[in-house]
Amino acid sequence: MPKHGSRPPPVKSTADALSAMALALLAIYPRQVMAEALRPYEVVGDAIPESLTGVRGDPARGRAIVVDRQKGLCLLCHAGPFPEQRFQGNLAPDLTGAGTRWSEGQLRLKIVDSRRLNPATIMPPYYNMDGLVRVGRNWQDKPVLSAEQVEDVVAFLTTLTETP
């Protein structure tokens, strides 16, 4: 790079401006900057046959996500075979036996985006952000669950084979 003699080096001021901008962006959209891109998936009929991550999830972690009121939020609406959980909702079908009623791929699509199956559903889309409106600052450009978490939940649901 040529030397600029008496002229103040432009590099410094540009760098300052850039870092100020980055800070402002971080302050306003902390999640947006750090959000990971959603992985592509293919819907076949009423199912997503392939794992979002390429591997099978962990059912024990999946159960923990399902009963967690900040993560899965499932028990806000659903009840299920969770005897230790005191408050279970009744806005949605009981999850008992879900693994016998639905295939793994069908369960995956229900979690990823139930709107694909029932446009009027109240079940939140857990891994699809199309058409969402006024998403809160802390949740912007972020799916409710990560791809790994979706796979853990799906793996757990397939184990729900007891008859209701």
Binding site: L73, C77, F87, Q88, L91, L132, R134, V135, N138
Partner: protein, 264 residues
């Protein structure tokens, strides 16, 4: 047994307003039957609301009465100095808010209307929204209409704002993608984890919420519901909240006002 007792307690509480409420109820709402949030509460919480000595909201009412009578601002006038006895001059007022406010060409809610008087007639600094003072004055005014049927929405100029409020009510929002209607029209009476979803009739505001351990306005309630579905709440005082309040109050027309109510 509970149903009978509850019905009896309410009839006694709401007095004559109940007979007025029923025919209007059929005319105004898409809901098969309208129920106040009161009806979804435990008998203990109902009793707390109904007994003025145990209802914590009455503390705000008493504070509001003191503010009503206190001289304020550069003019040194009190609310009572202009309006006299609130039991007479303010009877029925809270039951018709939000009203159309000609000066701004939009609806205004009770809290903001109180602040207009503070500014223009008392020449005093307006109270911040959700401040203890403003909640106290609103609770005191609300109490003057307790048991009276809600009459909001008669002014034809309110219609576009009511319609906008309804649009907001029906719009899905937030990361969890819920509309107000999804819960309050489609799933009232069901359980969202431990909470029974009410029909969202704003019959008791401002009210004492046990979870807040405090009095709060209807806007605070709406904010809570928006945050719950991971939506970005509007700033306090925004037109969106006033339009929603107007829609909800019009939808509750004919139901008796309960201020100061108690909710879980």
């Amino acid at each position: 047994m509970n149903r009978v007792l509850k019905g009896f307690a309410q009839a006694a509480w709401f007095g004559g307003a109940l007979s007025l409420a029923i025919p209007l109820a059929l005319a105004e709402s898409p809901l098969p039957e309208r129920k106040s949030g009161f009806e979804f509460m435990s008998p203990e919480s109902q009793a707390t609301q109904q007994d003025d000595f145990s209802n914590p909201g009455m503390l705000w009412v008493a504070e509001g009465e003191a503010l009503w009578n206190a001289k304020a601002g550069a003019t040194g006038r009190s609310c009572a100095g202009c309006h006299g006895d609130a039991a007479v001059s303010m009877k029925g007022v809270a039951a018709r808010y939000p009203v159309f406010f000609a000066e701004s060409g939009r609806p205004i809610d009770l809290q903001s209307r109180i602040n207009v008087c503070r500014k223009t007639n008392q020449d005093a600094t307006p109270f911040p929204l959700e401040s203890r003072e403003l909640l106290a004055l609103s609770a005191f005014l609300g109490k003057q209409s307790r048991g009276m049927p809600i009459t909001t929405g008669e002014d034809k100029r309110l219609e576009p704002f009511r319609a906008r409020g309804q649009e907001l009510y029906e719009q899905r929002q937030g990361q969890l993608n819920f509309s107000c209607a999804n819960c309050h029209d489609g799933n009232w009476g069901r359980k969202l984890a431990s909470s029974v979803i009410p029909q969202s009739h704003p019959t008791g505001y401002p009210l004492y919420r046990l979870e807040w351990q405090s009095m709060g306005s209807l806007q605070r309630r709406l904010r809570n519901c928006m945050v719950g579905v991971r939506a970005e709440p509007y700033p306090y005082g925004s037109q969106e909240y006033v339009d929603l309040e107007l829609f909800l109050m019009t939808r509750a027309r004919g139901m008796p006002l309960e201020t100061p109510a108690v909710r879980p």
